[in-house]
Subunit: 373 residues, 2 copies
């Protein structure tokens, strides 16, 4: 066996240490990634910590107390400068925050040669101006790379597959899927192929009690998260309608029923949840009368020129009705090559470990492209 190529340990700064960020940290500190990257800084929204520590190794167990004890006030411009000017650099910024602050700075960060890997949807699903500025600052316009596989379907290879289809010259006809783990769970329980009459409010309560929803379930039921994912997918397809305001330009059906639109607080909404049951019962029974189930889907229909998030009806033997289980995501790509039967990808689309995998597999791609000495 020949000697290995000389490869740089690519410098990485990780900002955002919630569930996903912590899981990314765990994957980065373990082999084989620990030998390919050097973690030079971690930060949450307040504090940052330069690495390596003089006192001993950082671990997935000790990082929180050490950050609290030794961290200094986060200074984003200093982090960016360190990454841009590192002797093994420029490095990679992992933005594992949910804020809009860092995404707004991506064009500037990328412009300094720093690559960005992120599960944060706010950059690519916002205004077209920001999105185009991000694209203009990345490969093939510069050496800086931008990867965001984890923004849609967590670790599932959804964006990479869509990119491959487009770049190899396939014609996309339709992209359709269940992109929210929360809404997948709610409708898989509410509208089963085999029937059942559980109330919508009961399913939402169970989902909330099990931690499947945001603290205010309306943040899931608004459909905004799905609209953001659909915007990110849509922008990878050259022939889709322009979405100048990003997710806000996507027609999105809200699952907060008319009877509850006037609920002012989360608590009022939750206490009055059952007032919406009649609304959802009617939708379910109308679908059942046609032999259909109800699913909350995102659809990009290139023939119709439409991008939308809505309650859709699917036959009981459709993959969205039978194959979809639990809180899984599913996406089907119908293309010139993959038709009449689509290319389908399915699996868990939320959670720290699988979302982190989306980020770390992106990091590996970055490493493969920039680690040559």
């Amino acid at each position: 066996m020949s000697a290995a190529l000389p490869l740089k340990r690519v410098p990485v700064a990780l900002i955002g240490l919630g569930g996903v960020g912590a899981a990314v940290l765990g994957q980065l500190l373990a082999p084989p990634l620990s030998s390919r990257f050097q973690l030079i800084l971690i930060a949450n929204s307040r504090l940052s910590l330069s690495l390596p520590l003089p006192s001993g190794p950082l671990t997935p167990v000790n990082f929180r107390p050490i950050l609290e004890q030794y961290g200094v006030t986060l200074d984003l411009s200093s982090v960016i400068s360190i990454l841009a000017n590192h002797s093994d650099g420029p490095g990679v910024l992992i933005d594992s925050t949910a804020s809009e602050i860092l995404p707004g700075m991506y064009p500037q960060i990328l412009g300094m040669g720093i690559s960005v890997v992120t599960p944060n949807k706010k950059g690519a699903s916002g205004s077209l101006d920001l999105y185009e500025s991000i694209r203009a600052a990345t490969y093939p316009n510069s050496r800086a790379l931008y990867y965001d596989e984890a923004t849609v379907g967590a670790g599932l290879p959804i964006l990479s597959t869509l990119k491959d289809l487009v770049e190899t010259g396939d014609e996309i006809i339709k992209v359709e899927g269940v992109f929210s783990g929360t809404l997948s769970y709610i409708f898989n329980e509410f509208s089963k192929a085999e029937g059942g009459d559980v109330k919508f409010s009961e399913v939402v309560k169970i989902a909330k009690d099990n931690g499947y929803t945001e603290p205010d379930p309306r943040d899931d039921l608004s459909g905004t998260d799905v609209a953001r994912k659909l915007t990110i997918l849509s922008r990878l397809i050259p022939t889709t309608p322009a979405l100048p305001e990003g997710y806000a330009s996507v027609p999105t059906q809200s699952l907060v029923p008319p009877a509850l639109e006037d609920a002012k607080t989360k608590d009022e909404y939750l206490s009055r949840l059952a007032e919406g049951d009649e609304y959802f019962d009617k939708i379910r029974s109308e679908a059942a009368a046609e032999g259909m189930v109800v699913r909350y889907v995102g659809v990009i229909d290139l023939k119709e020129g439409k991008v939308e998030c809505k309650l859709g009806k699917y036959p009981k033997d459709h993959a969205f009705a039978t194959a979809l289980k639990g809180s899984d995501n599913i996406v089907s790509f119908t293309t010139k090559r993959y038709s009449p039967r689509p290319l389908v990808i399915q699996g868990s689309g939320a959670g720290g470990d699988v979302t982190a995998m989306g980020c770390t597999s992106d990091l590996i791609k970055v490493h493969e492209r920039i680690a040559h000495v």
Copy 2:
């Protein structure tokens, strides 16, 4: 928008111009790939043609007659030398042949810095010695890249997903799938969730008449093609059993029934096909009595330490029974992260266009990694 990076048009030689090779040629000659690669040579098993032509452009329509008229006797060592020493090189060899000749030369070719992209299973599914020689001659041991996504599931992102799972530190528990389009079609028709009593021989005849099988259906029914794919998958998982002889080391159930094992020629086999019907009727009715359908699957079970190709029984509501249609492939990855519900990828796994897509998406990855000036 900043100016684009200076990128080389990567030199490519395409050997093998059957259905897949012709489709690769079509994708390479069309935008956007035509601007990223320069096709410097095409060849079939006899003749090669250097490009560009003095007389005008090569097209997916004119290449066969032009090759016959102007081609010269194929000289592999000359092709390799041209790729290795190209002024924009080293380039990429696309091996779209089905022969064992080129795969046996991969270590030497890679050793000269030439990257290899191939749908040919003979290299990675043969002896462990050859496989290890290929690995030793590629990144990260050298700058030469080796990509073979199209060997399993054609254009479906199966190998790339397995690599991502392994490299990001997931623990693979089980990989299970229907990897043969031919055998998918045959068993989807023969053993339906909703029942039916079509004869095995009738389904094989329909499959053969529609061109879904090899000219001698025993080449599909032997299971060897599935064993090759399983070998390629298995070798990407560090904890699998060693397969010193590659596919020949994989326990593989043949679908040529005992009654027909003595058939000497293809014609004798085909004329006596119905003699096997009783054998398959029994297998189907035993499964049906348990509420199961029969599918020909490849299984890598890391808990049991087993790699095998066999007739498996699956409940009627399993994805292999309900979601699988036509001649689609399906693969499920059960891992520490993706359990109890697996990550599932499904879609057409055979045919020129989708197999070519597996190759050209690999080519794009090679371009991203070596095109910097």
